[in-house]
């Protein structure tokens, strides 16, 4: 990664940046951080792009409203268009938008017209019912309200408003009314208000319109009601009208005579039909416009976004004094300089500029961003690492090792051939269908997590199958592939009578050669001590794997120290660390192997009294844990059994004591070593500086203690360095304590490998015994049905709990083992990510934001 300065001729800048964006290998730095967003040079262009995007969004909204499918971009992404093309695009969008707006306006007007007519139609129809009802009902049974209407105005109110009555004399009933349409939910308030405002002197009838009507402005479907209000007098009329207006009710003229109404209804019907044809034509036109736009809209979106991204990038550049060229600073991967130069040349050619762009390397003290090249396989693993922290620049990247250790540690916890196969099949399916699945762009977050980790899942599945074979565990049962090495020599009646029987490895029961691969299937039958046996095995395996994993981690720190030239750190950090770990914990691992190889049954000597046989028999095998604890406490085991040796090999006691002493001596070295050396260097500096040793001496020393976190770049002054030293001391103390205590706790932490594996095996067994076994044991026809039901339950539990939940838990534990136990040995993770300017990323994020 190098910092480069890029001089671009103003005319060529656009094309060059566009090429770089296609390439996606350059991270530009903001050279005018103090300048406001709206004071930058290309802000007008950005604004034009915003405007174009707005138009496109409008188009898109309209297209979506009509449910027209938008064509995906066929094949290649369109390149960023030339600046002059931008004007064309703008014009096109402008035209489209205007056209669409006009069509929409027309359509809205038409729809409004249509709505009015439909409402009128409904009014005529419903009021007909009111009038009919009234005429029929006035003479026969009269309800309370109707009594009010037909009696009141004519008898009581009538006297008050005589003049009015004269005019309407001929009419038998209500003198005056208005009819209209109102939103259904506003009816209650409307009614109440009318009652109050008119003091009960109006009569309201309403009927619901069953079919929803379309609101032209928002094109929502709304439910409305027809109402008709009867009242008397002009004052009431204005009042009623005001209230209607206030509640946004639309009033329509409604003739009083039935014949007029019928005539009007006919007229309305014909007008509605006419309108329908016109509306249809408008809609067709709109549809045509939108279909045409839908073909290109994705393409346009990409183009506009690319232009916008380019101008945003150009805004980061510095303008030369002469205004002739733009100056950019960028981080560039050192290996890709050639490709970038080529891209720049292409850009220059495209723009037709004669002056080639200049790419200069720059010296900088700044920490470059971290960039690890990944392909689709490694990137998932890299993301697991980045989730903890982005590697410090040029630090050892644990991701490649994680590719193997991660699925492996997972598999140790998840060792089951059957469940592993399920995971592997799922992972394989995702990898196999990669392209179609990727193209689908499924929006579910959970699915995206699974899909992103498809290679991890595949590997986890395969490794689980492998460890499943080693544990000889498939859905909690065993496979007997090679034939067990154990035989039962008991007579049949003995077998029938006894619940538990022993098979002795030093007798005929054992064929004297082990099962070729993994655990002997005979253990499946050992109900009383299978778990004990498996525990001893898995616990030791966990510790062995753990210690090797940690040792590997410590060794990685050596590469870091060598690369960063931290010589002191190698001597006072790496070496004591590795000695500490080896002498204590690796020694424990060795003891395990010694125990495995030197204790065991001697064939054909069952029950022998020979002291040699007894001394190497399982009876005398010491507990590793007790031995290790005693080693730390400098004491011998007082509880050794008679006839057994105290030690596993000659000189064990002395050697162990020496190991512990040496290991403990490493602690003060780790604690004080580095601060001491740093202090000495600083003193030397202080002494050499007045003598004029000059910057070389200081620089040399600086390089030496480059590891000293926060060592100032300038030669520190007396008081200043004192502070610095105390900080170094504290830092180192924390580091040492973390490491020493960590060695113990981290080793113990690896026991989770055993614990989860045990839990998984037991859960699988419970699922089998409680469900499927019951089903398999049931007989007859009903048994078949029962099994059918039970299998469903067992399969559901197997997938949901054993594979998904247990898998997730094992995954998290593995992640922890990598982040905490492994990476804490060497990984600082204090870097920041290389984020190149790339159209791909920008378009992706824009697409996501849209959804």
């Amino acid at each position: 990664m190098t910092l480069c300065q890029l001089f671009l001729q103003s005319e060529a800048a656009y094309a060059c940046v566009s090429e770089l964006g296609e390439l996606g290998l350059v991270q530009f730095r903001d050279l005018n951080p103090d300048v406001n967003a709206f004071q930058r040079k290309f802000v007008n262009e950005v604004r034009r792009c915003d405007e174009m995007e707005r138009k496109l969004r409008y188009l898109e909204k309209e297209i979506k409203r009509d449910g027209i499918p938008m064509l995906e971009i066929p094949g290649e992404c369109p390149e960023a268009p030339q600046p002059r093309e931008m004007i064309d695009l703008e014009a096109t969008f402008e035209k489209l938008e205007n056209e669409l707006r006009e069509v929409n306006q027309n359509a809205e007007a038409l729809k409004r017209n249509y709505l009015e007519l439909t409402e009128l139609k409904h009014i005529l129809r419903k009021t007909q019912v009111f009038f009919d009802e009234h005429e029929g009902g006035a003479n026969t049974t009269e309800s309370m309200t109707r009594a009010l209407i037909s009696d009141d105005p004519n008898k009581h109110m009538g006297h008050v408003q005589l003049g009015f009555r004269d005019k309407q004399e001929s009419l038998e009933f209500l003198p005056c009314f208005v009819a209209g349409v109102i939103l259904r939910e506003r009816i209650p308030a409307f009614e109440r208000m009318l009652w109050r405002a008119c003091r009960g002197n109006v009569f309201l009838r309403q009927a619901e319109i069953d079919s929803p009507l379309e609101d032209p402005s928002s094109s929502d479907q709304v439910y409305k009601s027809v109402f008709i209000i009867f009242f008397q007098g002009d004052q009431l009329k204005t009042r009623v009208k005001k209230i209607c207006e206030g509640f946004r009710a639309t009033l329509y003229p409604c003739p009083e005579a039935p014949a007029d109404r019928r005539e009007m209804a006919m007229g309305v019907m014909t007008r509605i039909e006419d309108l329908n044809t016109v509306l249809g034509q408008t809609q067709d036109h709109r549809h045509r416009v939108l279909v045409a736009a839908a073909k290109n809209i994705k393409n346009w979106f990409v183009k506009v976004r690319k232009i916008k991204a380019i101008y945003h990038t150009l805004n980061l550049f510095n303008l030369d004094v002469t205004q002739k060229c733009l100056i950019a600073e960028c981080w560039v991967p050192a290996l890709d300089m050639e490709t970038i130069q080529l891209a720049l040349r292409r850009g220059t050619e495209r723009s037709g500029s004669s002056v080639p762009p200049i790419l200069n390397r720059m010296e900088t003290a700044e920490e470059p961003p971290t960039y690890n090249r990944n392909n689709k396989f490694t990137s998932a693993f890299q993301h697991l690492i980045y989730a903890y922290g982005v590697a410090t620049y040029r630090e050892v990247n644990p991701a490649p090792y994680t590719i193997i250790t991660f699925p492996f540690l997972f598999a140790v916890m998840f060792g089951d051939l059957g469940h592993g196969a399920l995971i592997a099949i799922f992972g394989f399916w995702m990898c196999y269908k990669e392209k179609p699945l990727q193209a689908k762009k499924i929006d579910s977050e959970i699915w995206n997590i699974f899909f992103g980790g498809r290679y991890i899942i595949l590997l986890m599945g395969l490794f689980s199958m492998y460890t499943g074979l080693i544990y000889n565990d498939i859905f909690s049962k065993s496979l007997n592939i090679f034939g067990s090495s154990w035989r039962s020599n008991y007579r049949n009646d003995t077998l029938a009578d006894n619940k538990l029987l022993q098979l002795n490895p030093d007798s005929e029961d054992y064929l004297q050669y082990p099962y070729p691969f993994g655990i002997d299937p005979v253990w499946q039958l050992a109900e009383s001590n299978k778990i004990i046996f498996m525990n001893a095995y898995k616990m030791k395996i966990s510790i062995i794997i753990g210690v090797f994993h940690m040792l590997f981690g410590v060794c990685m720190s050596l590469w870091n120290h060598i690369y960063f030239k931290r010589r002191i750190s190698i001597y006072v950090e790496f070496i004591p660390q590795i000695v500490f770990l080896t002498l204590l914990f690796f020694y424990m691992v060795l003891l395990m192997f010694i125990k495995w190889t030197s204790y065991g049954p001697t064939p054909g000597k069952l029950g022998s009294d020979d002291p040699d046989v007894i001394r190497t028999s399982a009876y005398c095998a010491p507990s590793i844990l007790i031995t290790f604890i005693n080693m730390m406490l400098f004491k011998t085991d007082p509880n050794t059994r008679p006839q057994c040796d105290d030690v596993m090999y000659a000189g064990q006691m002395g050697l162990q004591k020496m190991f512990v002493v040496v290991a403990l001596l490493c602690v003060p070295i780790m604690l004080f070593g580095k601060p001491y050396f740093i202090m000495r260097e600083q003193k030397q500096q202080a002494r050499s500086q007045p003598l004029g040793a000059g910057p070389e001496g200081a620089e040399g020393a600086q390089a030496e203690n480059g590891a000293a976190a926060g060592a100032p770049a300038e030669a520190p002054h007396g008081a200043h360095s004192h502070e610095e030293i105390s900080e170094v001391f504290i830092h180192q103390a924390i580091h040492t304590i973390e490491y020493v205590l960590g060695s113990v706790s981290h080793t113990a932490s690896y026991l989770r490998l055993w614990a989860l594996s045990l839990a998984h095996a037991q859960l699988a067994e419970v699922a089998w015994n409680m469900l499927l076994r019951k089903g398999l044991m049931s007989m007859g026809f009903q048994g078949g049905i029962f099994l059918y039901v039970v299998f469903a339950g067992w399969a559901a539990i197997s997938v949901s709990i054993l594979v998904l939940m247990e898998g997730l838990s094992a995954f998290l534990h593995t992640l922890r083992l990598h982040w905490v136990e492994f990476q804490s040995k060497f990984y600082a993770g204090e870097g920041y990510l290389f984020q190149p300017f790339s159209f791909e990323v920008i378009l992706d994020s824009a697409g996501q934001a849209e959804e």
């Binding site: 709206f38 405002a197 009042r239 206030g246």
Partner: protein, 348 residues
């Protein structure tokens, strides 16, 4: 104990509100806004803040009124969200906040109809937080009694309105009196309600409402000079839940000019400071701005305590102030009148 159970009902909303509060523009944002040359610049800068793309779908050229509408729309959406997710007693509290907007809307509509404006022209000017169903039919009423009987009796404002029924007809003076009587009743009711909730809510809200009441009392007094409002009538309009009550209000009721008001305020430390800095000279801040500043600081203080409802009120008020600020700045930008552009009231 109250704090322990607060989060059961109010925790989510308080968190949300505090999150919204973090989106309030900072001093540095204002410094940038002030430098804008055009409204487009303003839009571009606001895009970088919590407002995000709230103007993205507006075709240029922008108008200040569009900005104002959009700002208000955003605030209203946020407030409605809070209101829709709230339960008692928070929902009543939030409703109480909206009542003041209702009062404003009613007065606006009545004044409008008095001046023969069509109602359809007035409706868009109403604050959406204070809209209610019967609002648009308000011009039916010709007298306060009618207004009460026909329109307001169904609204939550009915109890506040009882005192105004006695007024004879709706002229400009009476409308103003109605507004202030309504406000007085509203503030006192709100004050009582907060007191009844108790705890931190009462501590915070009573402080803010007391200031609000006093501010109204002082402003009523100052505005009444030279009008036909009698001193007795004036005294009736003072909300009686502030710190000025009762002695200060009595003194205010006797005041005849600005100097006497100032003399009354002298007795109260926080108000005397406000009068101290205010002046009508160029460069001085007006008394109104001083009041706004004090209100902002009170509202900002509300966020210092947890587990109370005051944050919702304060958030709304701060956000309103922010809208006023942005609109002020955009007006200045739009009219190229930069001399007074710095007269906004910074919040943080």
């Amino acid at each position: 104990m109250k704090g322990c159970i607060f989060n059961i009902d109010g925790g989510y909303l308080e968190g949300l509100c505090r999150g919204f509060k973090c989106g309030i523009l900072k001093q540095s944002d204002y410094l940038n806004l002030v430098q804008c040359e055009t409204l487009e610049d303003l839009k571009l800068h606001l895009q970088g803040t919590d407002y995000g793309t709230f103007l993205a779908n507006e075709p240029s050229p922008l108008a200040v009124s569009t900005i104002d509408d959009k700002l208000r729309e955003k605030l209203v959406i946020e407030f409605q969200h809070l209101r829709n997710h709230s339960v008692e007693p928070l929902s009543t509290f939030l409703d109480f906040i909206t009542y003041s907007y209702m009062i404003d809307n009613i007065i606006l509509l009545i004044t409008g109809t008095l001046h023969q404006r069509p109602i359809s022209e007035l409706i868009p000017k109403c604050h959406p937080l204070g809209s209610f169903e019967q609002m648009e039919a308000i011009h039916v009423a010709a007298t306060p009694a009618e207004l009460y009987n026909a329109v307001l009796v169904d609204t939550p404002l009915a109890p506040f309105f009882v005192d105004c029924i006695s007024e004879q007809d709706l002229d400009e003076m009476n409308i103003e009196i109605i507004r202030n009587t309504l406000y007085k009743a509203y503030l006192e009711a709100f004050y009582e309600f907060c007191k009844q909730i108790g705890g931190t809510t009462a501590d915070v809200m009573c402080e803010i409402l007391a200031f609000e009441a006093d501010r109204r009392a002082i402003i009523i007094t100052i505005n009444s000079f030279g009008t036909e409002l009698s001193k007795d009538d004036r005294a009736k309009l003072y909300p009686r839940c502030g710190k000025l009550n009762p002695d200060g209000l009595a003194a205010l009721a006797r005041a005849d000019d600005y100097e006497q008001v100032k003399a009354v305020a002298e007795y109260y430390a926080e108000y005397s400071a406000l009068f101290e800095g205010a002046g009508s000279n160029v460069g001085d801040k007006t008394l109104e701005d001083k009041f706004f500043e004090h209100e902002v600081s009170l509202n900002v203080h509300a966020f210092l305590q947890q587990f109370h409802f005051g944050v919702f009120y304060s958030y709304l008020k701060l956000k309103e102030q922010e809208c006023r600020n942005i609109v002020w700045i955009s007006e200045c930008v739009a009219q190229k009148h930069r001399a007074k552009i710095d007269n906004y009231i910074p919040i943080f």
